[in-house]
């Protein structure tokens, strides 16, 4: 496999990054140079301007100074003439008298020298009336009004006067009149004046018009105000026939000459008489009405700058161009190289790609094969692992079972030893057992005997316990009954006593009053009460006897008992007319005969007593079998007993009817006897008027019969 060829750089390189960089750098450079150039130009311009203005100022300054000097010279020269008495005398004589040829010639020569010395056009001698007396050159004898005015002024003031520049109307020449007044020697009146027509062309105008340096446009002007105009005094450089001719309005704003006349001084920019922008320096000429303007065309100042700027720009431009070209060339070179490289690498890449594709295909085939192989492997691995796991489990199981087996083996060994030992023991025991068995058998017999004895003893105990409990209960019952008995007895005994005593009292009273009826009643009450007492005591005795004296137990038939009982109460039965029916039952009872008789006796007695209104009183006596038990009954069809009282009737001294006979102990007695014989007694009655049935059991009296 060929390695992928190295490239010289990113494919995008020349599309963007360096070109941009280079372009940006160029741009920056251009900008920088441009800005620098601009600023340079600016400074240079300012400097040039400064230089120009300095120049102008200097020029103006010097020229003004020269003009002033010139004027001063002229004036001093004139002054010298005036003050020279050698000169004034001949002039005075000449003017005064007729002029001789010698003095005329002498004076003419003097005028000539004056004219030459003062750079004048003419030298004129005038008299006090301003008539021309003498002139050099002799042919020009004209004398203008302006000159005349100046002469007059000079003669009047006796001062040297210099007139303004003016153009002569005769000669057309521009001059200024310098007048020297001549006085008489006496000093009083002027006799005349010498007028010199100073020619500005000799000094002044050249002075003005020359420029110290070679300048194409610079010039100096001399101007003065005339009315509302500014008058140009000298010949202009760029304009012909301007001297004392050109007038421009004083109000013209940018005209430096006008501004000068308006009073401005110094440097100014403006527009001159040609309409050209100029840089000017303006000064007033001291001692005159003149103003000096030194100006130079702005273009002239700027021209070199422009030139310079142009030069710089061009050079910079060239420079940049060179750089640009260079950079461009470089870039292009790089690009070409890069593309060449690209082409090469592309070719190589193509080959490499083909190679790669081929290899990829191979790889994929391998990969596919590998995947399949991997699946196979993983599957087999799983299988192996499962087997391994199973093996592990199986091993564990085996080892565990081996352990178990060994344990069992060990246990078995032990157990075997144990067994052997035990077998020996067993045989010993067996022998012993045989002996013991015999022993046991014997003892078992003994035990059974004892057991039997125990059973009997237990029965005995149980029986005795029962007996004890019976005794205890009986004791309790006896106690409570005794208490109640005593209570009742005392109460019931007391009652008749109260009656007796009370009625005895009444008896006494009644005996006192002799009320026989009452007495009888009282006695009756007393008797009744005592009877009651006696009965009560008898009953009490009877009750006590039940508890104490118990007769010998004999066998007696049911029938015999009933008959005896009936015989005892035969009287009551007959009295009430009661029919008695007795069951013919063969039954033998065993117990205290007297007591047993009392049961029926009392029951029958009661039944008779409580027949009430019964027309056919009837008593049934018999034995029933209820729940396999013999139940004795005494049934009557008497007044019956209300359900509420069926329990109470057995209470001691309990009488449901207080008027009835008896003390109320009958049923209590019967209950006592029945209970003595282990039985129970109850009443069955449907209620008042429904008859009564007393039922009772006597298991104690049956004992002889039912015992096994």
């Amino acid at each position: 496999m060929n390695p992928v060829p190295q490239r010289s750089g990113n494919p995008e390189r020349f599309r963007g990054w360096p070109g941009v960089g280079l372009g940006a750098a160029l741009l920056a450079t251009v900008a920088a140079i441009g800005i620098a150039g601009f600023f340079y130009l600016q400074s240079v311009t300012v400097a040039a301007r400064k230089v120009a203005t300095d120049n102008l100022a200097a020029v103006a300054e010097s020229k003004v100074r020269e003009i002033v000097n010139w004027r001063a010279e002229r004036l001093s020269d004139a002054q010298a003439v005036m003050q020279n008495p050698l000169l004034t005398e001949p002039v005075q004589r000449f003017l005064a008298g007729p002029a001789d040829a010698a003095s005329t010639a002498r004076l003419t020569q003097w005028l000539h020298s004056l004219q030459e010395h003062n750079q004048a056009l003419r030298a004129i001698l005038v008299d006090a009336e301003c008539r021309v007396r003498l002139v050099f050159p002799a042919d020009k004898t004209y004398f203008g009004p302006i000159a005349a005015a100046s002469a007059k002024e000079a003669m009047a003031t006796n001062h040297v006067t210099m007139s303004e520049l003016h153009r002569s109307q005769f000669s057309g020449e521009v001059h200024m009149d310098l007048v020297v007044p001549i006085r008489s020697t006496a000093g009083a009146a002027p006799v005349g004046a010498v007028v010199l027509e100073v020619d500005p062309e000799r000094f002044l105008f050249p002075l003005i018009q020359t420029w110290p340096t070679a300048s194409p446009s610079a010039e100096t002007l001399l101007v003065r105000r005339e009315g509302n105009d500014v008058l140009f005094l000298n010949e202009l450089r760029h304009r012909k026939d301007a001297a004392l001719t050109l007038r421009l309005p004083i109000g013209q704003k940018d005209l430096p000459a006008a501004r000068a006349v308006r009073g401005e001084t110094g440097v100014m920019e403006g527009v001159d008489n040609r309409g050209v922008p100029v840089l000017a320096h303006v000064r007033a000429v001291p001692g005159t009405k003149w103003f000096m303007v030194a100006k130079v065309d702005a273009a002239e100042i700027n021209a070199p700058l422009r030139q310079q700027a142009l030069l710089i720009s061009v050079s910079v431009g060239l420079f940049l161009l060179v750089i640009g070209l260079g950079a461009g060339l470089f870039w292009r070179q790089q690009r070409t190289r890069y593309y060449r490289e690209q082409v090469e690498t592309a070719a190589e890449l193509v080959i490499a790609n083909k190679e790669l594709l081929f290899q990829n295909e191979e790889k994929e085939k391998r990969a596919a094969e590998l995947v399949v192989a991997n699946k196979e492997l993983s599957f087999q691995n799983e299988e192996k692992e499962k087997r391994a796991a199973e093996l592990v489990i199986a091993n564990k199981e085996l080892s565990f079972q081996n352990e178990e087996k060994e344990k069992r083996a060990a246990e078995l060994v032990v157990a075997n030893k144990e067994l052997l030992f035990q077998n020996e023991e067993k045989e010993k025991r067996a022998a012993e057992l045989a002996v013991a068995n015999k022993e046991l058998l014997f003892q078992n017999e003994e035990k059974e005997k004892r057991a039997a004895e125990l059973v009997i003893a237990n029965k005995e105990l149980l029986f005795q316990n029962d007996e004890k409990e019976k005794r205890a209960a009986e004791l309790e019952r006896s106690k409570s009954e005794l208490a109640r008995f005593l209570y009742t007895a005392s109460h019931d005994l007391k009652s008749p006593v109260v009656t007796v005593r009370t009625f005895l009292g009444y008896l006494e009273q009644d005996m006192a009053t002799g009320d026989a009826g009452r007495i009888a009643k009282d006695v009756q009450f007393i008797r009744n009460a005592t009877d009651k007492m006696v009965q009560l005591l008898d009953d009490l005795l009877e009750m006590s006897r039940i508890g104490r004296v118990v007769g010998a137990s004999v066998n007696v038939t049911f029938r015999a008992l009933v008959d005896t009982a009936l015989a005892a109460v035969a009287g009551r039965i007959a009295a009430r007319g009661v029919t008695v029916q007795v069951d013919d039952r063969e039954m033998t009872l065993h117990g205290d005969r007297v007591r047993l008789e009392e049961i029926w006796q009392n029951l029958v007695d009661n039944a008779c007593k409580f027949m009430g209104d019964q027309k056919a009183p009837r008593i049934e006596i018999g034995v029933e079998t209820r729940d396999a038990e013999p139940v004795f009954f005494v049934r009557d069809n008497g007044v019956g007993i209300d359900a509420r009282y069926q329990e109470k009737v057995f209470g001691l001294f309990e009488k449901l009817d207080p008027k009835a006979e008896g003390t109320g102990i009958g049923l209590a007695l019967v209950k006592r006897i029945v209970e003595l014989h282990g039985g129970r007694i109850w009443v069955e009655s449907k209620g008042a008027g429904q008859g009564t049935c007393f039922c009772f059991t006597l298991p104690g009296a049956m004992q002889k019969e039912t015992s096994p």
């Binding site: 109460h491 007391k494 009652s495 009292g505 509420r644």
Partner: protein, 147 residues
């Protein structure tokens, strides 16, 4: 009941004692009506206007009850309990008149809200005096609300 004589209900099983009480009231000339019943059941029937005493005319409401303790059918204490637990009857004063001096009886009687407990004296004079005092106290002096 202004002006009208108070009815006294005597519950006593012994006829002779009843006679004594009656005679005493006569001697005192207490203008009262003495109603006599001989057992506990009759007393309750009387008070509740039941059975034999269904007609209220035969059983006027007593202003005071003289109650013996030992009674047939329904015991005196039972009667007392019944009277005192019946809102219609509980306001009637019940005076126990008995021969029993037993503490037990007294305690029981008072616990069942008996208004008074009198023991029949054995002495004739004392008995008379007791009855007289009873009569004056309970009939003449004692005030009852109008029924």
């Amino acid at each position: 009941m202004k002006g009208e004589p108070i009815v006294i209900l005597l519950v006593e099983d012994d006829a002779s004692h009843a006679e004594i009480v009656r005679r005493n009231f006569e001697d005192c000339r207490l203008a009262n009506r003495l109603m006599h019943v001989a057992d506990g059941q009759a007393a309750l029937d009387y008070l509740n206007h039941r059975d034999a005493f269904s007609d209220p005319a035969t059983a006027p409401r007593p202003g005071i009850i003289l109650l013996d303790l030992r009674l047939p059918k329904v015991d005196g204490l039972e009667v007392l309990k019944s009277i005192k637990s019946d809102p219609k009857l509980s306001s009637i004063p019940v005076v126990i008149l008995t021969t029993s001096k037993a503490e037990m009886d007294m305690v029981k009687a008072y616990s069942l809200h008996a208004n008074s407990y009198l023991v029949k004296p054995v002495d004739f004079m004392k008995f008379t005096e007791l009855m007289t005092t009873f009569g004056f106290y309970w009939v003449a002096w004692n005030q009852c609300p109008h029924e």
